[in-house]
């Protein structure tokens, strides 16, 4: 079993920046990542992207290349294609990858596992052909694939970014169907002057929306009662605006209602969590450097609360600087300057969070809408379980098996919390969340069996 000063989980902007900074401070560093190349989802396939792909995805994407280069040349031990399936209180990490299973210990752990799409339970959302908007972007970014019969549905900056990138790629979506309620702009306006501290984001957003208008992509606003129609696969999206029903045929549907922190590892470790009303999700309770309620365990990047790639890289550096300070290195001045840049970069968030609050339809799905896709449990069944006395997600799970399928509750968890909180007329943090246990991803028995004695002294690379 190997011992490292710092173990980092995730090689997106936060994980890469943390690794660079921690290596520079002279620590022994190991970085685990599920993907086969660095970049995370935001900079996915950044090292393989040719000039055409970089131009298509835009400047913000291209900036990931320098970070990936710095990460590659750092002294950190990089473990791509590796799943971390357990982290325990003594900071022992179990992983499984191409070379089998293994175990390391760490003085500090930086969790940089990023964000995932908020679940979007709507009628028909399990039909083949229905994906997340993020999935459509991954296909374009990593594989150069774009669909010619797409309708994008939901709300949030990513929805417009994907629409703009598809347009740039020569296959604009047939329509963007926006679900933000009327009045979202009015609620966002008080945050506008704060957002002016990060003007580049406002400019980028406006340019995106203008390009869609120039390309003639229809944007439907304030859509309600959204449903995806189709027998064996997606055939159309239908929705209502001002009492009028619309129907647009689509073989590919991209759903988006914002992204939320991936909370599996912080939940597994038992880090304290708080409910963020503005981001409408749980976020780990952190000190200004990203340290959780458990000493020497840090969360940086979107997993700490959604802030985007620039904030993620700054947060990664900050956590590494803090660990260096604890070890007696002089980092105070640098940490202070990183914190100031972080505050400026995050200035856009309150405006975006108010403008693109998720729609009530996906937070409070209709009774017959599937919430748990794996075990096929509807919102109505969860409400019935509450009526029978289930006070929270773990009891609902025992009643109904929701959250017990292969995704281990990742997709349905946040929705189940919302549905139970609404049914009980209480707060989401009073209802809580699924208890997360190892293994964090399904494993074969061979992967667990391979761990025991063979893992001792196994080379890491």
């Amino acid at each position: 079993m190997s011992a490292y000063d710092v173990a980092i989980i995730g090689a997106g902007p936060a994980g890469m920046a943390a690794a660079v900074e921690a290596s520079r401070a002279g620590f022994s560093v190991v970085v685990f990542d599920e993907q086969d190349a660095p970049g995370g989802q935001i900079y996915r396939a950044i090292e393989r992207a040719d000039a055409g792909r970089l131009a298509l995805m835009g400047e913000d994407y291209a900036t990931g290349r320098a970070l990936a280069e710095a990460f590659r040349t750092s002294s950190a031990v990089y473990m791509p294609g590796t799943i971390v399936w357990n982290v325990d209180a003594s900071l022992r990490i179990n992983y499984s990858g191409a070379t089998g299973s293994g175990e390391v210990t760490a003085g500090s752990v930086i969790i940089a596992t990023g964000a995932m799409e908020r679940a979007t339970p709507l009628p028909g959302w399990t039909l083949p052909g229905v994906m997340t908007a993020g999935a459509l972007q991954i296909l374009l970014k990593a594989h150069g694939l774009v669909s010619d019969d797409t309708v994008l549905v939901g709300c949030g900056p990513l929805l417009f970014l994907v629409a703009q990138q598809m347009t740039e790629a020569g296959s604009p979506p047939r329509a963007v169907v926006e679900t933000a309620a009327p009045g979202a702009l009015r609620r966002a306006l008080p945050h506008f002057f704060g957002a002016l501290r990060a003007p580049a984001y406002l400019r980028k957003g406006l340019a995106m929306i203008r390009q869609l208008a120039r390309a003639g992509v229809p944007v439907y606003r304030h859509a309600q009662a959204v449903a995806i129609e189709g027998r064996e696969a997606a055939e159309a999206v239908s929705f209502t605006i001002k009492g009028q029903r619309h129907r647009i045929s689509a073989g590919t549907v991209g759903l988006h209602q914002g992204v939320i922190p991936n909370q599996q590892i912080t939940r597994l470790l038992g880090c304290e969590q708080d409910w963020s009303a503005s981001q409408r999700c749980f976020v780990p309770r952190l000190d200004p450097f990203g340290e959780t309620s458990i000493q020497n365990v840090y969360v940086t990047g979107d997993g700490a609360g959604i802030g985007g790639a620039v904030s993620a890289a700054l947060g990664g550096r900050l956590a590494a600087l803090r660990i260096a300070a604890r070890a007696g290195k002089a980092t105070t001045g640098e940490a202070r300057s990183v914190m100031a840049r972080l505050a400026r970069d995050r200035a856009i968030r309150p405006f975006l969070e108010a403008l693109y609050a998720p729609s009530d339809e996906v937070l409070m799905p209709a009774d017959d809408t599937l919430v748990c896709r794996c075990e096929e449990v509807t919102a109505g069944q969860i409400r019935e379980a509450v009526a029978l006395g289930a006070p929270g997600p773990n009891q609902a799970k025992a009643f109904l098996r929701c959250g017990m399928g292969p995704c281990q509750g990742r997709i349905c968890g946040p929705v189940v919390t919302e549905v139970i909180a609404a049914a009980r007329r209480t707060r989401q943090d009073a209802v809580g969340y699924y208890r997360i246990r190892p293994p964090l991803k399904p494993l074969s028995v061979a992967e667990i069996a391979g761990l025991a004695p063979a893992a001792e002294g196994q080379p890491l690379d």
């Binding site: 989802q41 055409g52 994906m131 997340t132 374009l140 990593a142 150069g144 696969a233 073989g251 096929e376």
Partner: protein
């Protein structure tokens, strides 16, 4: 339908899906190659046998589970296509006997 935006110089390889030969580019995941081939249905659920296809493409949702070279429960979005890989849809729950 998905199409590839640029003709690329990446190496081409072929693999087997449900007994058909399909083409992929070096670096494609199984899920991406299947979507490009117009294959949207990758599995049916263990509960109601309803058909599912790739959803998140980042390893979170487990909707793209397929059988690869005889091993079930593989995430098609996390596995790169290798030459002559044999991929099958996963129908219902994986059975121990099938491993």
């Amino acid at each position: 339908m998905f199409k590839r935006i640029a003709t690329s110089r990446k190496a081409r390889l072929s693999f087997d899906f449900e007994g058909h030969r399909l083409e992929a580019e070096d670096g494609d995941t199984v899920a991406a190659a299947l979507l490009l081939a117009g294959e949207r249905v990758l599995r049916s659920t263990a509960v109601s046998a309803s058909e599912r296809g790739p959803f998140c493409l980042m390893g979170v949702c487990f909707e793209c589970l397929v059988e690869i070279d005889g091993i079930p429960n593989r995430q098609a979005c996390m596995v790169k296509v290798l030459p002559d890989m044999r991929v099958r849809r996963q129908r219902g729950a994986a059975r121990v006997g099938s491993i």
